[in-house]
Subunit: 386 residues, 4 copies
């Protein structure tokens, strides 16, 4: 039997970090379709993120991306966030959009380019000091497009050196989260292509270094919940970049492509104690076609629904069936939780938190969408990849 009060308490305590860049324009290599009302500054991104938190109650922090969210005064930005009920979250580095990084950043053959990349990473730690952020999230676009283009091993050496230098700069409460990605934008090798590579580097760096699992960054067929379970067991799961995919790194709304997979991941988080450990639950999505704020609200709700189902798994019954070797019964216990409609429960949770039971409808009624379209005229819309 599951303890419903405990489930509700866990759901109220949940925290999903939304990424500043998801509020801006995004697209594919073919076209970025601009939307009306999109933020034109980090300040406006926080204004939008505050809407997501206001209606869901579980999105209290916002990840920043440097240099996209570079401002003169980070204390002022943090204050702007706080006034809207938010805190600044992970700092995400960018070593893929400077012309010097065409053939790599921290893995580049040229030491001068590597120094430039490391300098950027160190600047990110400076910003963390200013914002009070705990996590430096590192994703490297480094890799090669053609066999022979560069030396795989030499690039690992360079990567290791750069990470060590940045790691040494971290404060006592700061962490480095290392992300891996199967491919893209590099098409032959990627310098951190899988969890094993990220894990090996984190092991060498020390306890402040942990692996980030982006749910869209795996080879077809990869069992992501297995990786999550392993990293939790090793104390090396730093966090998630949630999104969903049918093909490659599609960056669709989390839970949209395979809600059962998301549930299985959240079950392993639950089973491995991930909700009480220092695991960061972040979104990393691109809302190319759909309206951005409601898409992010929907994504947060999808995480909530998967979490609720995971928490409803009858762990005792599951364990008993597993020990008995009853394949069908064990599977049935898990499926029973997945097949439960948890939306009524979540409506209750929201009402107990003083929120509207239906965040999507409440946001639609709020007039915010119309307001930003009307007010955010002129200026340069925020966008990534641009």
């Amino acid at each position: 039997m599951t303890d419903l009060a405990a489930v509700k308490a866990a759901l109220k305590n949940q925290a999903v970090e939304t990424p500043s860049w998801a509020y801006g324009n995004s697209g594919t290599r073919f076209k970025v379709f601009a939307q009306q009302g999109v933020p034109r500054s980090p300040w406006e991104k926080l204004d939008d993120a505050a809407q997501v938190h206001a209606f869901t109650g579980v999105a209290p922090t916002v990840a920043l991306h440097i240099p996209w969210d570079k401002v003169e005064d980070y204390a002022a930005l943090a204050k702007h966030a706080e006034e809207r009920g938010l805190k600044l979250g992970a700092i995400n580095s960018n070593t893929f959009q400077d012309d010097d990084f065409k053939l790599g950043s921290v893995c580049h053959a040229d030491a001068a380019v590597r120094r430039k990349a490391v300098a950027h990473l160190l600047e990110c730690v400076d910003i963390m000091d200013a914002t009070g952020s705990r996590d430096l999230k590192l994703w490297f676009a480094d890799g090669t497009n053609y066999p022979g283009q560069d030396d795989i091993v030499a690039r690992q050496e360079r990567l290791g050196e750069a990470l060590a230098e940045v790691y040494a700069r971290l404060g006592d409460e700061q962490r480095m989260l290392l992300e891996y990605k199967f491919f893209e934008p590099a098409f032959y090798t990627t310098d951190v292509p899988d969890w094993g590579t990220a894990y090996a580097h984190c092991l060498k760096l020390g306890p402040k270094a942990r692996v980030v699992v982006d749910t869209g960054h795996h080879a077809p067929g990869t069992n992501i919940e297995f990786i999550v379970a392993l990293l939790l067991r090793e104390g090396k799961l730093g966090g998630f970049d949630f999104n969903s995919r049918f093909y490659a790194d599609d960056d669709l709304m989390v839970g949209a492509a395979d809600p059962f997979q998301l549930f299985r991941i959240m079950y392993e988080v639950s089973r491995g104690g991930g909700f009480s450990a220092d695991v960061a639950f972040m979104l990393d999505q691109c809302h190319n076609l759909e309206a951005k704020i409601p898409a992010i609200i929907r994504s947060v709700m999808n995480v909530q629904e998967a979490t609720a189902k995971a928490l409803l798994v009858d762990r005792e019954a599951l364990g008993a069936a597993q020990v008995a070797g009853d394949v069908l019964a064990a599977n049935a216990v898990l499926m029973d939780a997945f097949n439960t409609d948890v939306r009524p429960l979540l409506r209750e949770v929201r009402e107990e938190m003083g929120l509207d039971a239906d965040p999507i409808a409440a946001y639609a009624r709020s007039g915010w969408a119309e307001k930003i379209v009307a007010e955010r005229v002129g200026g340069q819309q925020a966008g990534w990849g641009a």
Copy 2:
């Protein structure tokens, strides 16, 4: 025994069409790295394409992309090409970069958007009339990102209607080449995702409609040469968009990722009579990191090498081993051709054509690369996806 004189003759007659857009800048959704000396107009693209033909002798036509290559006077453009030893090739439509096409073009739910898309396609046929191009190459980015976003069947109906309207406009000597693609930029459904869908539409349209095989547009593991063999058997192979890939639609230089696959494809072309049928051999690549003109020269050479190996297959010995059910012997016949170093043969072929035996070195010595860097200053560099 293979007839070496016939092989040489076939190699001299080979024609690989290069795409105007490969001479311009390209990139991923993360970044387009600009290169120096890149063309700023269709005229300059033809100038570059002429270099590729001058040094390889087998790249006599250039595919255009509308509207990227839109000019006032297509007769003048055709003349510009002819003066450089070139002809204008296939006309490629673009129904993915107008803001109206965000949710589709010919498959869009809104009839007004569909009319706009069809109008563009009809304009492309007008341009074909002006340029004397035989082929209208259609690739549709149409699709959806989320389950439920649109009605799969309704989109097929709309697609069929649009294709029929354009087909009816084709002249007697003109053809419609329909391309399929597994995914991207759409991430849930693509409206022409596989050869079967393209084939079904082409069958209904009639003999002027044929399927284009882009070697990067398949699901992982797909046996492309099988598709090529089938389409040739059905008389429905219109042509190739050559490139290569390790992961998704990476658009790397053809033959760079899996030269054995390219050889197998060319073998099926040879076996199915594709060199003498109306099959268009086109490149469709993105040279994001590497220098563009030599990358295209290399790509043409890669097609030549695969073709030479395919032509060297001892068809008689192969057939005998196949009929005998001798698996190892049959495989060995094929591998024997693949393992042959055909570069000396191709050097001979080039010298007999009055060309330098080494196109890459000859181009490097020509000074063209330095010249375009020096001269093409200012203006707007050509780029796709931008």
Copy 3:
């Protein structure tokens, strides 16, 4: 608004065909683990299938596999079925376990082998005459393991000839269902590897030939519901072989690996009129580890649940959101149905059908499992691949 009475009626009319071979032992190339109580004859397989129908009410037919289910007297077998409330369903051919078929059956280079294969297929039609079965289901293991091993095009010619000969033998009410498979047991080419190939053959054969979609027979990432929608639109969807997979042709219980995908498939069936057309809904699974009869009951229930959800989709609201181009709203309509817990509805449906609301529990209480373990001692257990 959905019409609940109509949904219930549809659920009561649903028919899922179970395969005789799923009641026998199965395994991987590494090991077949035998289970106690497994049938030792076609007669005992029908006894087990009758249990599945008795407890679910929607599994009234049983597919046979020849020669695994060969008997002297098919009329007697049909009577045995009828006495248990069943009918005999599709006849499945086997052209992959005779030593002569090592390099292929209907595609073999040797005409004598092809004649043997065709003779077997014709014998299957004879059996259909005797059993009253409507459908001849053809799956060919034909293919090659190595490039060059055989001629791709010649094999297509042979395939086409064999199919034509068998097609000509079909009675007025009989159909040929042609199955495709991405790979396995052939590892380089498969002679019917995708829906396009099957469709092309069926088109040439005529209206009695249709394509079968086995949900485990696709390349990674393939959008199966798209194929289903297309085939229904063309009137060429003959039926399903349901199962589920994480990797290759895993043959797990349908709905076990990706219940959302199964729902999307059933939605396209519903949207395309597939429930009222002549589409055969069949299971094709291997219960290697789990108890077979309850696994099949669970599978039937999974199909029911996906069907119920698909029928609950608010088609009107969906269409309105689609036409409006409201991506989030359209997706939400679909997800609303998927997120609904339809188990209470199905319990109601069962009770209205005079069945126990919980088929799994009812079967467990029935004592059948214990009975067959006790009684089926000695003899040769049925198994496929053996």
Copy 4:
């Protein structure tokens, strides 16, 4: 410039271990096609392996599989090998064909089953003592077919314990090689699914534990040479199980499906010093359709050809192009080696070794194939999975 004498010396020193089981029958889950003349005992397998070594000169050791190759007197078996110019190689364990291992072996929930599995592994070390084998190669079929079937983390704990117990038993000169596999025979989780998992266990175990790379055991698109380079850098590459694949774990002849990939792997071995380190180069293939001994000879030759090409890479020129960031030039250096026809060089190497230049033809002339067909009549043919 490459030193041709050094290349030849390296090729003469190369050692490829052939697996005893590849000489026996194998197949897929659908059918094992028996071949004439197949060995009926470990002794006869060694007789066949001796032929491969006699004609190639570089296959001096034979891997055993326990219990398939269980004999009363391992000293006698070793002597039998020595008399034929062979040594016994790695001992491969089998924890997947006993009925008790249906739900796992070392990861099974039941401690008694785990004890049985560990006892088998310890017995394998006993056999290593008797045969003088250095390597214990461990591949576990352990995993689950359904979500919830067992506890992922608990299984890792059990695995770790079992490995530690076996590791402690190893002699000073003995090693444990841990193999990973993406999937099959388990279809939801596999307990050692990727190199990261194997690496993490080996790290904990100690220096005698190393990872084995089976070239067929990866997700689609995985860059295997990257893994090889990383493991070599970490001193954790224990060896290879060579084979090739188009789809899953197809176990085709190495180099048959993607000779360019094999070359890239061998290049990373060469670049990382793998030829002089303690890396075991083993075959692990299934010759389902083709004649077994010549298939293994061909496989050894394929490894030789890839090695020769890898050794011919102009490392100096490559390094210069890489440091210069010249993508095309660096790629061209690598491709130049790959495009070289190394068969004349290998013929020379063989003649200098006193061998026939053409091992396939020499074997065919030897009469061995006819002899074993004539003599090996009656008895039980060896086969795996049976």
